[in-house]
């Protein structure tokens, strides 16, 4: 049996496309997410909005809670580790989660280095604010990329900024001559074959989702139009007035993002979305991590 964990991880990400990955903090929430049509759940102790509110150090979740969620649902279960905290990642690997999110939403553990993700059998997803961050994470072994956005704010503006930056920079790589690609690879230290893949496919060599501040079906549609292949919704579901309805609406929105009549139906009568925050007023900007 041939085993190429990295390729298999990229393949799992491909199967998540067109889906919504929902943050859940309890078995009950995980079941709501699954029955609403989430393509995966992210098991964590507190959603980003609460992490912001509570302050303090945010860490990997209790393995007991992750195990209980794994038992409760049949869809893939993801979990977060702190940036650079490879010991937490080894624990999640022992739990056999389906994907590890090396996430800026938790308090970073290492300011000098991210995890060497190539050492793991479980695939990683990482946040990025632009193409260079995305490529650095991919070179470290990330099998999937998401925008960082600004988690826990219910404000989509940063996710939009990051997705636009990534798409614009992909366009400029696409236009580079062979000579310019080689020079760019030399200057940045990115592997030439990575740049060549972007040049050829006009997209990242791994699946790219939107995340950070997505609070409504319209936000979902916006991110899909900007080139996201699916979305992560964190606080946006279980901090809304009607999580069940909101969760379903998010799933519908990712499928029907091009159909504005459907989007109008989907958006109707959802109750209050999560309370949002202006990014300028934040004490901590997670995207800078």
């Amino acid at each position: 049996m041939k085993k190429d964990s990295y390729a298999l991880g990229k393949n799992l990400a491909q199967m998540l496309k067109g889906g919504v990955i929902m943050d859940v903090t309890t078995v009950e929430e995980a079941c709501i997410a699954e029955s609403a049509g989430a393509c995966a759940v992210m098991a964590l102790e507190r959603v980003p909005a609460d992490i912001r509110w509570d302050g303090g150090v945010a860490r990997m979740s209790d393995p007991k809670m992750i195990r209980e969620i794994q038992k409760a649902v049949t869809i893939p279960v993801m979990a977060k580790v702190r940036i650079g905290h490879f010991a937490e990642a080894h624990i999640l690997e022992a739990l056999e989660v389906d994907f590890i999110d090396e996430s800026e939403v938790l308090t970073p553990a290492d300011e000098s280095a991210h995890i060497d993700k190539s050492q793991f059998q479980i695939p990683f997803v990482c946040g990025a604010i632009d193409l260079e961050q995305a490529l650095r994470r991919i070179q470290e072994g990330a099998a999937m990329i998401r925008t960082k956005g600004e988690a826990g704010t219910g404000n989509v503006v940063e996710a939009v900024r990051h997705m636009r930056a990534i798409q614009l920079q992909i366009q400029s790589v696409t236009k580079m001559s062979r000579k310019a690609l080689v020079a760019y690879a030399k200057k940045t230290g990115f592997r030439l074959e990575l740049l060549e893949a972007i040049h050829k496919e006009k997209k990242l060599p791994v699946v790219n989702f939107a995340a950070g501040g997505i609070a409504t079906p319209a936000d979902v549609a916006l991110m899909m139009e900007l080139g996201a292949e699916g979305v992560f919704v964190g606080s946006g579901i279980f901090k809304s007035e009607n999580p069940q309805k909101t969760a379903k609406a998010m799933v519908e929105a990712v499928i029907h993002y091009r159909d504005s009549k459907k989007l109008a139906e989907i958006s109707e009568g959802l109750g209050k979305a999560m309370a949002g925050q202006e990014v300028e007023t934040l004490a901590v900007k997670m995207q800078e991590r």
């Binding site: 390729a7 298999l8 393949n11 799992l12 199967m15 496309k17 049509g37 393509c39």
Partner: protein
């Protein structure tokens, strides 16, 4: 590639949709995205892709594509192929959304979690040489009924089966460079 005039669609709610479209392009076959009954109207062949069977199944029911597929397939008007999640939906028992289009029982995530995903080379009955097969959180075929032919097995267990109008594979040929399975579906159904 030899084939009749085929009109191919792929159920496009969630999962590995683009991958099937790209293999189609390699073979010179346009593969249309199907999100509604209207989209499925004139098709001769429909692929249900990999992804999450709960998500795809739910939307097939809410759009009426489930009943449409069953009916058209029974009449022989619409040939169906399910890969991974798609196989779960076309077979029996594995999901509340299973359509019973082929007399095969499947079990979801039967190899385990992502840690247990794998790729290998398989040989297909009647085919030349081996083709690559990728198994991602794959289901297992646990029973094969009458009138169902096993076209390939892995470690003694069936992974590719067909009847008159339905093909199911528990693996993903669309994640590889090989177009063999698509060619087979378009020409042998």
């Amino acid at each position: 590639m030899e084939r009749r005039n085929v009109q191919v669609g792929v159920v496009a709610f969630q999962g590995g949709i683009e991958e099937h479209i790209l293999v189609g392009e390699r073979l010179g076959v346009a593969v249309k995205r199907v999100l509604s009954l209207q989209d499925a109207k004139d098709l001769t062949h429909l692929i249900i892709p990999g992804g999450e069977s709960t998500v795809i199944g739910h939307h097939m029911v809410s759009t009426g594509l489930d009943a449409f597929c069953e009916k058209q397939n029974e009449k022989g008007n619409l040939k169906l192929w399910g890969t991974c999640a798609g196989a779960i939906l076309l077979g029996k028992k594995a999901s509340p959304y299973s359509l019973d289009c082929i007399d095969v029982d499947l079990e979801r995530n039967a190899y385990g979690r992502q840690m247990d995903s794998f790729s290998t080379l398989i040989s297909v009955q009647g085919g030349e040489g081996n083709i690559p097969a990728v198994f991602i959180r794959a289901p297992r075929i646990v029973r094969v009924g009458k009138g169902v032919r096993i076209l390939a097995s892995y470690e003694g267990e069936p992974i590719l089966c067909r009847n008159e109008n339905v093909l199911i594979s528990t693996f993903h040929p669309e994640l590889t460079e090989s177009s063999t399975m698509h060619e087979y579906f378009f020409s042998q159904f």
